[in-house]
Symmetry: C2
């Protein structure tokens, strides 16, 4: 198994040149003289066998091929940077966890003390974002994501499977008796619906999907304006501003406290749920293993379909 790779330093120079679309600036960026870049780029073009830049006298512009390569090279370099950034943090006994606002505030924060204990002295930091792609850009040791469990190259441990139901404040339900029917879905009105923002790409349950699943025509024409994060959404429901889709595991505290209630039948989409992602290899930092064990245990050791 012998690798077939171009000269790596040429890649570095090319990537910088592509980033700036300007060889001189790339040279400044990398702290070398301009002809060094010229040479590296020419070298790479030679290796590839095609031009990566169009030349027009005093300027360069990426060819389509150059564009494609740049993306792939940048991704590879990003990975390397991340890997080294993460081990640097590990040696400082820090742990970074990535999760959405909802998971962070509604599930991680309430058990923060136990979490710190489980991490055995490591400092735990969070990076919260509604865009899971962001976790690929941070040196996270663990992250929590919604999906099917299919993340190539990652270990994925199931935390909870998705179980959703309509949630509303008790006042809202008494004001609208149709919500107390066995299946309130056909009676929902567009103006009641509150949505968690831009979740289509992750397969989260949306109102659109809710109606599709129930075979009921969607009372909303297109997309609903989304609330920025899930805790805010729950707050709005609590205050009676409308109804939303509640996730078991995230709305439990409010339900048990009687501030919101679930109406109608709970929908279970088995195969979908929140997963705890970590590095596939495992065994790197015992801290990570401990924390993973604690978190999966804390989720109730839920098994699929359970």
């Amino acid at each position: 198994m012998r690798r077939r790779l171009p000269p790596l330093n040429a890649l570095l120079a090319f990537e910088a040149a592509a980033r700036h679309e300007n060889l001189t600036r790339a040279a400044r960026d990398l702290d070398v003289a301009q002809p060094a870049i010229t040479r590296h780029v020419a070298n790479l073009e030679d290796w590839v066998g095609s031009d990566l830049f169009h030349r027009s006298g005093n300027a360069v512009a990426l060819t389509p091929l150059g564009h494609e390569l740049t993306r792939d090279i940048a991704v590879a370099f990003d990975r390397l940077e991340l890997a080294f950034a993460r081990i640097a943090r590990t040696r400082q006994n820090e742990l970074l966890i990535g999760a959405s606002f909802g998971i962070t505030h509604l599930w991680l924060m309430p058990q923060i003390t136990a979490l710190r204990d489980a991490a055995g002295g490591a400092a735990i930091n969070f990076v919260t974002s509604e865009r899971y792609a962001d976790f690929e850009r941070e040196p996270v040791d663990l992250s929590i994501r919604f999906g099917t469990g299919d993340w190539p190259g990652k270990r994925a441990d199931l935390l909870f499977t998705e179980k959703t139901s309509i949630i509303a404040s008790p006042e809202f339900v008494t004001r609208h008796p149709e919500l107390s029917q066995p299946d309130p879905t056909p009676h929902l009105r567009a103006e009641w619906l509150l949505e968690h923002g831009d979740p289509h790409g992750y397969g989260w349950m949306t109102w659109q999907r809710w109606f599709a699943h129930h075979g009921v025509p969607d009372p909303v024409g297109g997309d609903l304006p989304g609330v920025a994060n899930y805790p805010t959404l729950l707050d709005m429901v609590r205050c009676g501003e409308g109804i939303a889709l509640g996730y078991e595991g995230l709305d439990d505290a409010l339900v048990e406290g009687g501030q919101i209630m679930r109406v109608g039948r709970t929908v279970h989409r088995p195969g979908l749920g929140y997963y705890l992602l970590s590095d596939a290899g495992g065994g790197v930092s015992p801290r990570v293993d401990e924390l993973r064990g604690f978190l999966t245990g804390s989720a109730g050791g839920v098994r699929e379909g359970g």
Copy 2:
């Protein structure tokens, strides 16, 4: 935005050394003398600030840190290799599509001629595997995967949302009248059930999930032995060897031909489905764009919830 990366050639040497856990063989692998490797590894260890190998006189063994780094570095190099492999194929006017056996045989092959036309002269090749992770190891231009649409760094176009139902041969149904009931799920017997192999990780509908979704106790204790691929599964159902879960879009031909029939209610898990994956940047090869356009169109231009 200045990158903070270790000397790249040192990474190359280290990765080879780690792969072999033997500096001498790494040197042979890279066609250099052994001390070159020693030097590079020492160099990298210096940069990182920790040992990556344990030394014991005449042998080396990776430290945990070394292991972790190796994985990450290898992934990054794999990406680079793939990127260059792909552009090499592109220049030979070849297109590579990755898909499961089921998708390949039941959906792509029947429209192969149109496909070739859409690709405008490019040679189309397929890599079929039931393990989606394999597509990360091949220089595919397009791939078809089941999931939520959340693939960071990739463009994902929805082909079909998941709609599943129980399928059986007409003979099987007449032999077992309970299958003709409005909801046959509670009456299914464990010995009838045929399963598509090892699909848990992708969120595919399995019998376990089917029963969980219907709130019916699973008649099977644990896992069912899986049939290796979906076309075979359909064949077995057609021959009356049992019943299975049929995917709309894949079993259509057999259903329309009357060789199998769907019984009971179709389950729609909106948010899950087959997606066409391509490079996020786009615009690289016009062939790819054309083919993507053709395929999404061929899937009926299904929109979510439709």
